[in-house]
């Protein structure tokens, strides 16, 4: 199967700190569901930011949908939709306006825009709330609206950065339901990061385990379990990293997470 994302020896450093992403190489097959599994501060968000043109790599090459984000950012931007880890909606606009603005920004023609918006609002169960201001939405509703927005321009890839963080179990289940349906029905490639092992195991066809900026293993959930001769992905992770996954509070910026790791005494 063709690769839609190809990453080769990718490295990102912030100042004189140890690299946040350290010589990472992987590829994602078109139409697949791919998970980046690792603790907070492992380099997941930094990698996503480089793939989505928000950060420039220190070294290495990236190809997303056949384009290099450093050379042709707009071609890459047309190819993906993204749901960030922290909300990125305009609270002072309605759900509908947030979607309308996104559609105009991405050059979705007026005739198809309205129909697509209504279709997506139905998909994420926000049809009745479409004229409400986003500031009155719950965390789960915002996340759903962001997913709808990320899909509006018919992207080939959707990036989901810790999409279920801070959501209750029902909302989490619903959300994965939508995402799997999209992958199946629209053939959209899904790239998500998580630090929940059961999520990576049940949703993704391929999983890359990342820790301290390096990919330490890659394969299907079953392959990873077989490789480490363990029964669960959790045990596989322990066998590979020698430590349990670290759970920390979610929404500090990458740089802060990095600083915390350095002050906290980072193992090298």
């Amino acid at each position: 199967m063709d690769a839609i994302i190809e990453v080769d020896h990718l490295t990102k450093r912030f100042g004189g700190n140890p690299p946040a992403v350290d010589d990472v190489t992987f590829s994602v097959a078109k139409g697949s569901v791919f998970a980046f599994l690792g603790p907070n501060g492992a380099g997941k968000s930094t990698t996503i930011k480089m793939l989505t043109t928000l950060l420039r790599p220190t070294a290495g090459t990236i190809r997303v949908a056949g384009h290099d984000p450093a050379v042709d950012p707009d071609a890459v931007r047309h190819a993906f939709g993204i749901v960030f880890q922290d909300p990125s909606l305009d609270d002072d606009l309605t759900a509908l306006e947030n979607l309308e603005f996104h559609g105009i920004l991405y050059g979705v023609p007026k005739e198809t825009r309205r129909a697509r918006i209504l279709e997506l609002l139905t998909l994420v169960d926000l049809m009745e709330r479409k004229t409400d201001f986003v500031r009155n939405f719950s965390g789960g509703m915002k996340r759903r609206l962001e997913i709808a927005r990320g899909l509006l321009h018919h992207p080939q890839i959707i990036f989901l950065d810790e999409p279920t963080l801070g959501l209750d179990p029902q909302t989490r289940n619903h959300l994965w339901g939508y995402v799997q349906r999209l992958n199946r029905d629209e053939g959209i490639t899904v790239f998500f990061t998580t630090h929940y092992m059961e999520e990576a195991d049940s949703i993704a066809q391929r999983i890359a385990i990342i820790d301290h900026g390096r990919i330490i293993a890659e394969g299907s959930g079953d392959a990873l379990k077989a490789k480490t001769k363990t029964a669960s992905l959790e045990e596989a992770f322990l066998a590979l990293t020698g430590s349990a996954i670290r759970e920390e509070a979610g929404s500090a910026t990458d740089r802060m997470r990095q600083a915390r790791q350095i002050w906290g005494g980072r193992r090298r």
Binding site: K49, T52, T53, L54, L55, R56, P73, D74, A75, R77, H78, F80, I82, F84, D86, P87, S88, L89, D90, D91, D92, L93, E97, F101, H102, I104, L105, Y106, G107, R149
Partner: protein, 250 residues
């Protein structure tokens, strides 16, 4: 330049402005206070010194004040958007950073010019009478120029700041001096050389001067130099703003 990007960012600012009635009303308090306290309070002294009607003199200055405050803070909206995430949405969109920056500047300027127009109406309510009705239209155009200038400056500053910590700094070391040293509140033709020199480096001086030319029929720099400085400064800040904006990394 991508017109979709410019249009969306402009529309967003304007929509938010018309929606926040409390913001519109709230931002009229300060100009009203200045007009009443200074206009009526210092008026008799100004009159005694043979300088004429102080309320009429400061009215263009107060309009300039409301424009500079509104437009710089509209620029600072970028920092809010950075903190609350919306900035990321615009930075991954397939439109040039230049058009995002330009659209925001244009939107902020439109809002500030609208605010200035409301303050103009307010000055007339408290007793200011423009020298001629024909001066009002060019004065509105000038208000838009002043608003563009300081929206662009706001974008420059906001692109360089990461959070609201720098807000007080901007207020005390940029906005206040720009306003107080511009000749908005006092005539520049009798001040000490040093102060005049400082005022000559303050772009708001030229904006207020040009407003006085159209609204009062008096000014000290002349309309051509006034407009030339405003346009030159707008161009410079737009270039700087798009440079710094293009460098933003999240």
């Amino acid at each position: 330049m991508d017109l979709n990007g410019v249009y969306v960012m402009w529309l967003r600012e304007v929509k938010r402005f018309f929606r926040s009635k409390s913001r519109i009303v709230g931002s009229l308090g300060q100009p009203l206070l200045f007009l009443v306290a200074l206009g009526y309070g210092l008026g008799p002294v100004f009159q005694k010194a043979g300088q004429g009607d102080y309320l009429a003199f400061i009215a263009p200055g107060i309009i300039g004040m409301s424009i500079i405050f509104t437009s710089i803070f509209n620029g600072m909206q970028v920092i809010w958007d950075r903190q609350f995430g919306f900035l990321k949405e615009t930075l991954v969109a397939p439109v040039s950073r230049l058009s995002i920056m330009f659209g925001r500047t244009l939107g902020g300027a439109t809002v500030a010019a609208l605010q200035g127009t409301i303050v103009l109406a307010l000055t007339i309510v408290v007793g200011f009478r423009p020298a001629s009705l024909t001066g009002i239209l060019p004065a509105l155009v000038l208000m838009l120029l002043i608003a563009l200038l300081f929206s662009a400056l706001g974008m420059v500053v906001a692109s360089l700041l990461r959070d609201m910590q720098g807000f007080q700094l901007i207020m005390n070391f940029l906005v206040m001096p720009l306003f107080f040293l511009s000749g908005a509140l006092f005539p520049l033709d009798h001040v000490p050389e040093g102060l005049l020199l400082v005022a000559r480096f303050d772009p708001l001086s030229y904006g207020v001067d040009a407003l006085r030319i159209f609204l009062l029929g008096q000014g000290i720099f002349g309309i051509v130099p006034d407009v030339a400085v405003l346009v030159g400064a707008i161009a410079a800040f737009l270039v700087l703003g798009s440079y710094f904006f293009s460098k933003i990394e999240i």
